[in-house]
């Protein structure tokens, strides 16, 4: 067994080892595709969202995994002080479909902000909303109560 002195300058083997480690880290834990683009999109939305409450992602609840048709569906829950928003993203005929639910139940406008523009819908009295045929890509959801009370809330930019 050999000992290496930490005081020595890096030699060729150190550098080779680091390069190799860099390759391995990239395989084991790759930086997600499009993360920089999503971050940039989040930055462009930041001005609009200055006064908003940011929702944070919660762990996906187990009940979302309930059948074969949900294999390709993702359920993501976001929460913050005023409300919790759960959305299920599933592949649709033309793009993706979002089924959403706001708790506590309330009527609100739901804007899906995308780099190419936005799509608006409203939730019903139960707090449910559906948006169909959304193109894939980065998006952030912004919800406002239709009665104008309370702060607007926004989700982080997610990949649909």
């Amino acid at each position: 067994m050999s000992e290496y002195s930490p005081d020595e300058v890096m030699d060729a083997r150190d550098r080779e080892l680091l390069t190799h480690l860099g390759r391995v880290v990239q395989q084991v834990d790759p930086v997600p595709d499009g993360l920089a683009e999503r971050s940039l999109f989040a930055l462009t939305l930041a001005d609009l969202q200055a006064e908003m409450v940011e929702l944070v992602r919660m762990e996906t609840p187990e009940l979302a995994l309930r059948g074969e048709e949900t294999v390709t569906a993702r359920t993501i829950t976001f929460t913050a002080d005023p409300c919790t928003v759960m959305i299920t993203v599933s592949p649709g005929e033309a793009g993706v479909r979002i089924d959403g639910w706001v708790a506590p139940a309330m009527r609100c406008t739901v804007d899906v902000l995308r780099p190419e523009g936005e799509v608006r819908t409203e939730s019903d009295d139960e707090g449910c909303f559906v948006i169909e045929d959304l193109p894939r890509g980065p998006a952030s959801l912004v919800l406002r109560r239709t009665d104008g009370t309370g702060p607007a809330v926004s989700t982080p930019v997610i990949e649909l």
Binding site: R13, D14, Q27, V28, D29, P32, A46
Partner: protein
């Protein structure tokens, strides 16, 4: 590969310099340098956050959140040269908070890592099933041995191995160490890794 590397713009500037230039340009209303910088620094933030033990799904949001808090603080960052350090510290703290939130009450009594000297208490990034992606025996050997290093060594080496030309100051920001200790620690961690590999009879040096 990032844009800087592709276009060869890196030249003599460090990542810290480019961060400062991006901030100055952004304040003048020019966003292109910031876009380049976001592309270049996002992988680094990712590895800082993951190195603190944040799960992949949450790490995405943490990285976005760091960039968001940056644009909200552009007015208050006095020295543009300090931007890179500011981002790395923000990433480290946000990652720590995310881990704490996830672990719930159990972690509430813990302190921020730089409030203690107990670097060993940092959550170690879990090996997880990700390691199965390693199809080459040499790769998985190296990864297995790497995971046996102390958490702080893993953080440093992960950062050094992922960054193009990491400077000691950046590593110091990430790990909360003093700049003077970084070189020694990096050397110590590399030495430890090499010793462990030597002890592994299945490992062969190239």
């Amino acid at each position: 590969m990032n844009r800087q590397a592709m276009t060869g713009h890196t030249g003599d500037t460090t990542l810290g310099d480019r961060a400062a230039l991006a901030l100055l340009a952004y304040r003048e209303g020019r966003t292109a340098p910031l876009e380049d910088f976001v592309h270049e620094a996002t992988p680094l933030l990712w590895h800082v956050v993951r190195g603190q033990g944040v799960p992949r799904e949450d790490a995405e949001d943490v990285v976005q959140g760091v960039w968001l808090s940056f644009v909200r603080h552009t007015g208050t960052i006095r020295e543009p040269e300090a931007l890179l350090a500011w981002l790395l510290v923000s990433a480290r703290r946000a990652a720590w908070l995310a881990v704490r939130r996830q672990r719930g009450d159990q972690a509430h009594t813990r302190e921020l890592p730089d409030d203690t000297d107990e670097a060993g208490e940092l959550p170690s990034p879990s090996p997880g099933p990700e390691a199965e992606v390693l199809t080459h025996d040499r790769d998985s050997r190296l990864w297995q041995v790497f995971l046996r290093l102390p958490a702080r060594c893993q953080q440093i080496l992960r950062f050094v191995a992922s960054a193009d030309r990491p400077d000691y100051r950046a590593i110091a920001e990430v790990t909360g160490m003093k700049v003077t200790a970084v070189g020694v620690t990096r050397g110590r961690c590399l030495a430890k890794l090499r010793t462990l590999l030597d002890q592994d009879e299945r490992w062969e040096w190239a």
